[in-house]
Symmetry: C2
Subunit: 650 residues, 2 copies
Amino acid sequence: MRNDDRRKRVVVSGVAPEVDGGRYAVKRIVGEDVVVTADLIGDGHDLVTGDVLWRKAGRRKWNRVRLEALGNDAYRATFPVPGIGAYEFTVQGWIDAFGSWRRDLEKRVDANQDVAVDLLIGAALVREAAERAKGVGKRGLEKYAAQLEGEGDIEDRVEAALSDHLKATMDAWPDLEHAVTHDVVQPVRVDRRRAGFSAWYEMFPRSTSTKPGRHGTFRDAAKRLDYIADLGFDVVYLPPIHPIGKTLRKGPNNNPDGESGAVGSPWAIGAKEGGHDAIHPELGTMKDFKTFLAAAKKLGMEVALDLALQCAPDHPWVGEHPDWFRRRPDGSVQYAENPPKKYEDIVPLHFGGSRPDAMWSALYRIVKHWIDAGVRIFRVDNPHTKPFVFWEWLIAKIRKTDPDVLFLAEAFTRPKIMAHLGKVGFTQSYTYFTWRNSAWEFEQYLTELTTTASREFFRPNFWTNTPDILAEHLVKGGPAAFAMRTVLATTLSGNWGMYGPAFELMENVPVQEGSEEYLDSEKYEIRHWDLDAEPNVKDLIRTMNRIRHEHPALQQTNDITFHETTNGELLCYSKRAGDDVVLVVVNMSWAYPHSGFLNLDLHALGLAGGEKFTVRDLLDGATYEWEGERNYVELEPKDQPAHVFVLERS
Amino acid sequence: MRNDDRRKRVVVSGVAPEVDGGRYAVKRIVGEDVVVTADLIGDGHDLVTGDVLWRKAGRRKWNRVRLEALGNDAYRATFPVPGIGAYEFTVQGWIDAFGSWRRDLEKRVDANQDVAVDLLIGAALVREAAERAKGVGKRGLEKYAAQLEGEGDIEDRVEAALSDHLKATMDAWPDLEHAVTHDVVQPVRVDRRRAGFSAWYEMFPRSTSTKPGRHGTFRDAAKRLDYIADLGFDVVYLPPIHPIGKTLRKGPNNNPDGESGAVGSPWAIGAKEGGHDAIHPELGTMKDFKTFLAAAKKLGMEVALDLALQCAPDHPWVGEHPDWFRRRPDGSVQYAENPPKKYEDIVPLHFGGSRPDAMWSALYRIVKHWIDAGVRIFRVDNPHTKPFVFWEWLIAKIRKTDPDVLFLAEAFTRPKIMAHLGKVGFTQSYTYFTWRNSAWEFEQYLTELTTTASREFFRPNFWTNTPDILAEHLVKGGPAAFAMRTVLATTLSGNWGMYGPAFELMENVPVQEGSEEYLDSEKYEIRHWDLDAEPNVKDLIRTMNRIRHEHPALQQTNDITFHETTNGELLCYSKRAGDDVVLVVVNMSWAYPHSGFLNLDLHALGLAGGEKFTVRDLLDGATYEWEGERNYVELEPKDQPAHVFVLERS
């Protein structure tokens, strides 16, 4: 142990936020603050102080912000992350020799002790600081030291010693020689706003033709954009747009009879027309696609592409790169399986091969190809079936050149696998939202997402439905369920999404009873949608998307509070961002009216104890005069699934 | 990223126990098991498996124990720590290719699929394992591979493929080429039994003379040992035994008039007769001390010395090593202070000096000196006023030659500082036990000590009193309070201690009202104790120490369960070690009888739901027939402060 280490008296521990000892980044949104807390202790009775050190990754110089004591040896400081990209921070602590001396001097003065010698001790500390200081600070400290050492009136010298100005100057020139720096440098990934606040609309462009039965094109899809923008969405997500394999192509309702004339599944990627960097000829050309992108942009929307890293048997790679696929002992290419099920129209890329480099680079080039075409958001299909290290490498590599690109992880698998995909870099993640039904399930799930370590690296995106998931509540609950799920998805999570027009038109017939698959699913055939069909949930979607834009409280996920209710069918929660508070009460039953009392956490609502306040329902405009914690609500699902209140002080 | 890293598909995380990312050791007792849990995930649907790797520190070769799946991607394995000293472990995970193949084969067979090609795939895995294997395993695997590949009956080949014997052989020769090893190697500190199970008796040897007023010697103290052993103690702890400073020596009741004839405080260490390696002449010689040690040993007891690293102004070091002490600007040596209080009879060692090496080495030599004299336990005075890095260095250095030496940290300071002293190596720690009074305070405090990270590195020692701490409950509560605190200390913690004969003789007069200082404290004067005085709590102490020796449940701290009671004045808890279960109910009021119902956690007691059982009170021998969770108790503090039950099945 070096002499220098032997003089390090401070211990820094319990630093938060921290993900796996700094191995993975914590995620923030541009303009947010990073609030850092840490425990600092030293031996003896001396005061301890410290800084958070932070910088943009790649910069040499640390910025510093002084820690504030919270009591019980805990400290806190906050730093801003104004730009997209990678930041990092750590914590440094040291003994505050001057602060300790000053505290003791005050006690001695209060006890009327002779402090002449103590003033000399303090003067020495000030002289040492003057050695470190520069400019005005240096001259000021030299002057103070001279006064403390001097022959002046003792009361004047004590007053100078205890002055706020001396303290502030000393604080500006701390003695860092024996400072202790935390051994973790925690990375912070800062994304653009849409990473945390977005509304996704998934649609099949091939179903956008106005002529029933005709294969829709990007030109048809572009005409649909006004409608989607009017509903308030900002991301239009397209299933894979690449040539669809012909070998063993699936027909309607996933029947294995698709060879003759069936359009096939867009996820069976690759044919003689090309692979992942090509466009399905029936959708149009690259030029058409770019026109579509431009049209979306004009309406304030972005286009998300699907990144499904798997191949149809006639994908060009199957012939060109035999070592990218696994072979069976009989020489055939290994198709996808989930034994005893076989998916012979899909051949998975073999990530376990002995030379992954060429394949990884090719996959990178695919992503880069679409980025260069103007795509900035990718929804990644089944990321959990490819190695975590691949995603970590790919996403980091993309971000070096294109830090604004977002990746949504489509994984509905085991919780720890989903969490790890968030850690390795996915910007957003699908969740178990679709399978949560009761009030207590939602409270438990949101508490897990927003109050555990998860909140730092896992950004949920709540989907009401997908082409793969028609949940039981939509099948059985009808219009009231569609409305309830719309309110839940749009208010519980900063990011939400739906697959349309199936959702807004309340499509809810499964391929067979108990199945989560849609009957006549667009995955396997072209659908023609009557966008004016009744009933629909378009007005509520439009309203909720508007409310989200008007209320910062709904533009984030983590600041949420659940409030007790006297009826287990009523879910009550509030979200807050600064002064903006939105209070939501949802009747979790689609069938029956429910009423009960709320037991509001007034502090979380920014209200004082006895205060009267008005709640105004943003859905129907009704207002209620409330007072205190206990307030009555009643919701009839046929009329209105929920209250979405704003608070107005009386 | 290397190709090899690109093929690592498993992620190991959430490893427990772990202290600050492996920076500090977890503590265990010889003969205990270390139970390791970890989360292991891989991409895709393949099975994951892994090992805990463990070894004695310094050994090259890891021992392995296979992880057992607990569900939800959590795994567990256990390894033994049979010897005193340092161990370490980590966790390794890999894809279980054969296990995954075997699982899928079963499904295919169940679905009556043609598995001829699959058997060839499995055969290849077995051939690869045979390459790795040796001896019988190798030959066996080669035989299996030939059979799977062969022309034999398909049912026979499938039976061989799914046989337990093949699985066990494959498990014995895993493919570790792409295994992932957790990046933390967690140290484990294994101490001898007394580290976790001990009963301490603190006494001033100078107060052991049978003649009132005469200074007691080690010879007198040796005669006291039978008495202490009879009470059931195993550690006799002596305040400092070194020459006591004469300069500004304190008199009775800490009055600053001690120069003339006062015996002084043993913590004012050092005089012209010597410093920390010398013996106070009035106590005797080194030979007398060694005789005392031998006498204790003969009775099955150990002697703990006090390590108080501070000096009286006439300590030899003050003259010999001026740079080990801080000087004031007027040239005087800086005495101890807690402004505005001054302790001019003590000069602290200055750990902040620029060349700490010589002083650290001298302090090490002091400790080693007493170890070489036969001392194996040190109670460290005020460790929190010396740098943490010093203790970490000192304790590690001592353990290199003397791994059985124990250190008890005397720190009643801020919780995070106390915790950190445990982390840097102290074997046991004083606690806030003395200041916890109500049932809910105890439940909260023990829950913190035994269920948070603290349980891994902080070993509590519960002291009923010390020469510095005469708690209010003893002052006000009289005999009932002494009895209640005896039961609490002896049953809540594996380690307990008391300062006698003050405690067993129920000394409880403070120097002034509201003070925690004893009147006529032995710290400043010689006391003469009448060991037969009544009332006393000797019988209860003897009984409790005996019960502790008879019940393994009470020989540890962490396995404790609190049970609900219907009366907040009744504290109910059980401790368990294997089949041994002790259930304690304490009336927390020393003044009034209390009764109520217990709501027992039957599972924690090892009982089934409707079972009848008998509880036998080890204090008074009474038995009660109980059934189910709800059982009535009633305690009159004047008769008995608590029930200490053992459970007997009917």
